[in-house]
Subunit: 418 residues, 2 copies
């Protein structure tokens, strides 16, 4: 390994001669002295040189120098008396200055140049927050006895819901990209009782919006032996709290850089029934509009001091066929959404678990669902689960205006590269 | 949540009246007494009943009874004086007896009935070992400062290698399923220096073999600022040791059930150069045959007491275009394979990092690689990485004869469901 000290650890080596390695973030020539700012995975380091000859921005360098106190430099130290070795020279200058506080380019330009744009500390920060969030998701569920699973992304039929699917040529047969691991995670409740999956899902979303992607990372969990959907909501509350805590612990620098304000997760997240939500907002459509979601979120903040709000009991007509009805109010479901800062973040609920209920829910048209229905034929406990879109979470958390800022290489109606 | 004690914890409640919940694994009627074995995610529990009326196998039940010492029962206790509540009845009997030591059915029959077959302790065990392996992979890399990434599974061109790809209709355009995250993980070295991804990869593998799948889970890592491929091999050694240790710690029961013998991972895994491997096996083809791999593995066990063997320096002609040559022997590469118990388990190596080297390696045909090549245009450090197929690892570890036994719902030339 190239022997080196990370920039964030430089201050621990004050007075010593050490080597750092990274990219030239910025070079700056003053009258009698030159500055090189070197970027590595841990942060920035300043190098002071008497020489006017310095490698260009984005050159990969190794710099050996003396760690010298310097009040103005990152971490309070800089490298002096440097020997600079260039490990790789860029073929051309970046299309925008990476050393400026923000990248001065439009989002499409940034996305077209993602391989270099993501090197900007502010543009890579959401991905660090994303990684920390997933770690918190897993950590929480591991602690609750869940087992991680990996399920097929290529499926035989487009049966799960009305959402648009991508077709694929599978050895001459028609197949589809999975729009969620829903059927498989339910099936695996029959095996492990409690399962989760972190993986890509695919939606042939024909709309070009700021909150939809054709591929996103779905954080899915499903658990058996629940009394009803409230047990699922309680687990989800733990998961969200674990994600926030993990971001605080693992991605502190990215939180600070992006000015992200981490939400408090109440011990019990407030919940309103769908009918109450309708009454509060004075609407009577069978679903909530984005405007209603925003209003309700604001209401929860005002009334309950919570940035999270559960809406429960959505009408059965608006939920997928595997949704469990509310035994006390059959037109309404044991399904819920979790709103966060004005937006639906998670969808979940209790599922049907009796084979005969599936046959009824499918109007007897069971043949396309044969593999899935095996799980219920052979005995399944009451169960439920939820799905959380990672990019949507990260965007909402960091305040990104567009979900494309919360993923490295977005896929949408128009974008297929890089 | 349905209030319950897990079967594995029953012994801690000796003398108490408790509730368990799970599936009826087996019911057995003797002359004056009946036995019910209940299976939950933690194991099995025995229930003794005076009643001859017991729910059928795979019924989901809740049983309240008194925890009573019983030498013959799992955990040394059984539930007596039970009240049994049926939460869900199966619609029909399983196609094979799940309570027998092994499932008496052919592999295709087992795979056709995966939702119920995987409930068998021996068939679900590889998936537990798999989950523990992935946890060890991440844990090791997290400890080494790696960042987790999620990259596109839909790509614009089939450019990476000669392997067969699946075509997909992407909003009326031709696209492909990614056969590896290779290009993206290299690109992200430019952002985070050290990255990993756990995700599905897709190969339109036209052969029906015991060791290929059309979708598998690839454990990918890539790191910058390496001196050469040996730094990558050193990280891989840590990763494999971390995976073995995690399986030991997290999946002890599954290891025991399957009779899995966990390998010792030497502090330094022995390595032979490709030319030496050829000399040892007396062959001179430009690649290693499966028979040679088996021979070399056996040789490493005999000569070095190691179940792992690195083969380094494969000929450049047999490695992908992004492979870094050995500066001392240009016809040979800084690429390596890791053999484990007779089979290639991991492929890795140092990659090219200079833009001009890519232009040369691609014979100037850079246009289809434009997005990827951005990373190198703007300065990339010497780097390398590796990819490990999760199912192949699990199959090799557990001694499964067929890779389909190491995944829940395999996808292959013929199989697209369940």
């Amino acid at each position: 390994m190239i022997s080196r000290v990370l920039s964030a650890a430089l201050a621990e080596h004050a007075g010593q001669r050490v080597t750092i390695a990274g990219w030239v973030h910025r070079r700056r020539h003053l009258k009698s002295v030159s500055f090189l700012v070197v970027r590595d995975r841990s942060g920035l380091a300043q190098v002071v040189s008497a020489s006017g000859e310095l490698p260009a921005e984005e050159s990969v360098v190794r710099v050996t120098g003396t760690v010298t106190p310097a009040g103005q430099a990152p971490g309070g130290v800089e490298l002096t008396g440097p020997e600079i070795e260039v490990l790789a020279e860029p073929d051309k200058a970046p299309p925008f200055d990476l050393y400026r506080p923000v990248v001065a380019a439009s989002l499409p330009t940034i996305l077209d140049h993602a391989p270099v744009a993501l090197r900007h500390p502010l543009l890579r920060a959401p991905l660090e927050i994303s990684a920390a969030s997933v770690a918190g998701f897993r950590e929480t569920l591991d602690g609750l006895g869940f087992t991680e699973i990996h399920t097929p992304k290529i499926v035989a039929s487009a049966t799960e819901s009305g959402a648009n699917v991508f077709g694929i040529d599978y050895f001459g047969r028609r197949a589809y990209l999975a729009q969620s691991p829903q059927f498989y995670k339910q099936t695996m409740v029959g095996v492990f009782e409690r399962v989760y999956e972190v993986g890509p899902v695919f939606r042939a979303e024909p709309h070009d919006t700021v909150r939809h992607l054709a591929q996103y990372t779905s954080l899915d969990a499903e658990l058996g032996f629940v009394a009803d959907h409230r047990d699922v909501m309680a687990v989800l509350r733990e998961v969200v709290a674990g994600m926030v805590e993990s971001v605080r612990r693992r991605a502190g620098a990215a939180v600070e850089a992006t000015g992200t304000v981490l939400p408090a997760v109440p011990d019990e997240i407030p919940a309103v029934h769908f009918t109450e939500a309708q009454r509060l907002t004075g609407e009577d459509e069978p679903d909530l509009s984005p405007a209603q979601e925003r209003w309700l979120s604001e209401w929860a903040r005002r009334e309950h001091g919570s940035e999270f709000l559960f809406v429960t009991g959505y009408p059965m007509s608006k939920r997928p066929f595997y949704t469990h009805p509310d035994p006390a109010r059959p037109g309404y479901s044991n399904g819920f959404d979790l709103l966060f800062r004005g937006l639906e973040l998670v969808t979940g609920g209790q599922r049907l678990h009796r084979y005969e209920d599936y046959v009824r829910a499918l109007d007897g048209d069971v043949e396309p669902y044969e593999g899935y229905l095996q799980a219920f034929r052979y005995g399944m406990p009451p169960h439920g689960g939820f799905a959380l879109g990672l990019e949507r979470w990260t965007a909402r958390l960091t305040g990104a205006a567009n979900i494309r800022q919360a993923t490295a290489f977005p896929r949408d109606l128009h974008r297929l590269s890089p």
